[in-house]
């Protein structure tokens, strides 16, 4: 056993931590997409990461938020607060070990999560948060080029919520932000491009993984992002591309493992 059982965090919605039982030196933070859930979006990730020895000194956080409530920028401010709070090991309360410092922070986001995280990191640059230099960004089916809203609501919601989404969803501000060509999409792209030749380049250059023929988001290159060689992933979908499945689809976990 390398990690604590799940610890419920009070920030966001259903945010959960699995702290390393050893002295941690790395942090992974997962951020779900539109109407996703803190852990459910990532399928087997929590099991795989807590069982793998390579993650034994890694704290793992699953950040959750109510994606229908507010705009992408509002969500990013909350996430930035969360990231700042947990950017140094926070296990003193449990007296697991003496607090140390992370050497690496990996942020993994899906779909709308890409907008939330990108906005947050742009503000982290403006506010000169020191931990930003430790961060690496991994994006699955990112919505930073915009999304087809109707498809998003009809195809990407989990389980029975897709039924209710299809018959009772309202056009909320977050859906406006997600629309192709929205002011939020353009704003994030413009701000990101501004840092192209600066030292912040590393922070904002994400490793992206698309699903081949994604029906929800627009697959194309983005600013100075780095595409994973196996991207776009065939026989996958907007919802499946970020979900590792034991012995069947291990790419998301393999990617994380190489970065850790």
């Amino acid at each position: 056993m390398n990690h604590t059982p799940p610890i419920f965090l009070s920030e966001g919605k259903d945010s959960t931590a699995f702290y390393s039982l050893k002295k941690p030196d790395k942090l992974v933070v997962f951020v779900h997409g539109f109407q996703g859930t803190s852990i459910g979006t990532w399928n087997n990730f929590s099991k795989l990461t807590t069982e793998d020895q390579d993650f034994s000194t890694t704290d793992i956080l699953y950040y959750g938020y109510d994606s229908l409530n507010g705009q992408a920028y509002d969500q990013s401010l909350e996430f930035l607060k969360f990231l700042n709070r947990y950017s140094t090991p926070d296990t003193q309360k449990l007296t697991l070990h003496s607090p140390g410092k992370y050497k690496k922070i990996i942020i993994v986001a899906h779909s709308l999560g890409a907008l939330v995280v990108r906005y947050a990191l742009l503000d982290a640059i403006k506010d000169s948060y020191p931990w930003r230099n430790l961060c690496k960004l991994v994006l699955f089916a990112p919505a930073h080029n915009g999304a087809r809203i109707q498809n998003l609501v009809m195809m990407s919601l989990p389980s029975f919520t897709k039924v209710i989404g299809g018959i009772a969803m309202f056009f909320k501000p977050i859906l406006h932000d997600l629309s192709i060509g929205s002011p939020a999409i353009e704003d994030i792209r413009k701000q990101t491009d501004y840092y192209k030749n600066s030292p912040e380049h590393n922070l904002l250059s994400a490793l992206t993984i698309h699903a081949h023929g994604d029906l929800v988001v627009q697959n194309s290159s983005y600013c100075f992002d780095e595409k994973h060689p196996k991207s776009p992933v065939r026989e996958s979908s907007h919802m499946k591309v970020c979900k590792p499945k034991e012995d069947q689809y291990t790419l998301p976990f393999e990617i994380l493992k190489t970065l850790i």
Partner: protein, 330 residues
């Protein structure tokens, strides 16, 4: 190894006690007089619960009793050891042995788990574990129990699910902002009529209680799906399966007929709207492809069928037996 059990117990306490500030609830309980407790913890079928203060106190007591249910489930799943501090045992005695609290969880809203905790730790000489389990099997149960805890936490902290369960349990809201009464009939009528759903779209009242109840219904059905998956995966460990089932026994047993019928009515109403070909067109500038519409409709009909199957499974009285039988031994 023992440290792991201690850590798990500590974290169940952090997650399900400290976060809900249950020390405060317990102190509040201690300050109440006998007649006050009798009145506050009455059977709602005899005298309805009307004031916010009453609802709030009963909610807090439910959480406190719920904490003992979670500990009992942890023991039955072999996730924690049946060893508790003196302070906790003292508290459990004053709470679970209190005449009015006992009536509340034994008679008015019967729950097996807190009663079993009381019998084992207050009336007997502790828990006798006759079950030898191999490590691999126990590891699988640990993972499933934790998966359940995460889903359960999400369910108890969700405001929309709260709204839905309140009206499902005969509750009635008056929504001042939208000048509208909301009860379970109103919810099902809205979900069963494309005309009413269109009106809802027109009004864009997404902050309304009705809208919250609609999403509460969707989220609760999704929670039941996760619940059913976890219990299915515990088919080889029937005691743990039964213990986890008992954590929601109020809904699956006491409310069985009402919950089963109501959810099926809700699902059938949604099916009617689907069969009318209704769906929302959110972005007029975006054309809806026929293929997407077809896939969504098929997926939706499947999701409704699956939800019905899961609900039937959870209402299955066989699931309550292993814990009940063990409880009789104490």
């Amino acid at each position: 190894m023992n440290n792991i059990y201690k850590l798990r117990l500590d974290l169940l306490t952090v997650n399900f006690r400290d976060k809900a500030n249950l020390n405060k609830t317990y102190n509040k309980f201690l300050r109440l007089t006998d007649p006050e407790l009798k009145e506050l913890l009455r059977d709602h079928n005899k005298k309805p619960i009307e004031t916010t203060k009453e609802v709030s106190f009963r909610d807090d007591i439910d959480f406190l009793i719920g904490y003992y249910s979670i500990l009992m489930t942890g023991i039955l799943c072999n996730y924690i050891k049946p060893e508790f501090s003196e302070n906790l045992l003292l508290e459990s005695r004053s709470l679970l042995d209190n005449k009015w609290v006992k009536k509340y969880y034994q008679k008015y809203y019967p729950l097996e788990l807190p009663d079993m905790f009381r019998k084992i730790f207050l009336d007997s000489n502790g828990f006798k574990n006759n079950q030898e389990r191999d490590l691999e099997r126990n590891k699988a149960t640990d993972v499933l129990f934790e998966r359940f805890l995460m889903a359960y936490r999400s369910r108890i902290e969700d405001n929309d699910i709260d709204t839905f369960l309140f009206i499902l349990d005969d509750g009635y809201y008056y929504d001042d902002e939208f000048d509208m009464g909301v009860d379970i009939d109103k919810l099902w009528k809205t979900l069963g009529s494309s005309k009413k759903l269109k009106e809802l779209q027109k009004e864009q009242n997404s902050s309304s209680i009705l809208y919250s109840a609609i999403w509460g219904f969707a989220k609760f059905v999704t929670y039941l799906e996760e619940y059913a998956i976890i219990l299915h995966e515990l088919n080889n460990d029937t005691l743990s399966q039964s213990a986890i089932w008992h954590l929601e026994a109020y809904w699956f047993k006491q409310m069985k007929d009402k919950l089963g019928k109501a959810l099926n009515k809700g699902l059938n109403n949604v099916l009617t709207v689907l069969n009318e070909g209704y769906y929302v067109h959110l972005n007029p500038s975006e054309k809806i492809e026929e293929e997407i519409e077809k896939i969504w409709k098929e997926n939706s009909i499947n999701a409704i069928e699956e939800a019905k199957t899961n609900i039937d499974f959870l209402m299955n009285s066989k699931l309550e037996k292993p814990v009940k039988m063990l409880s009789k031994q104490y």
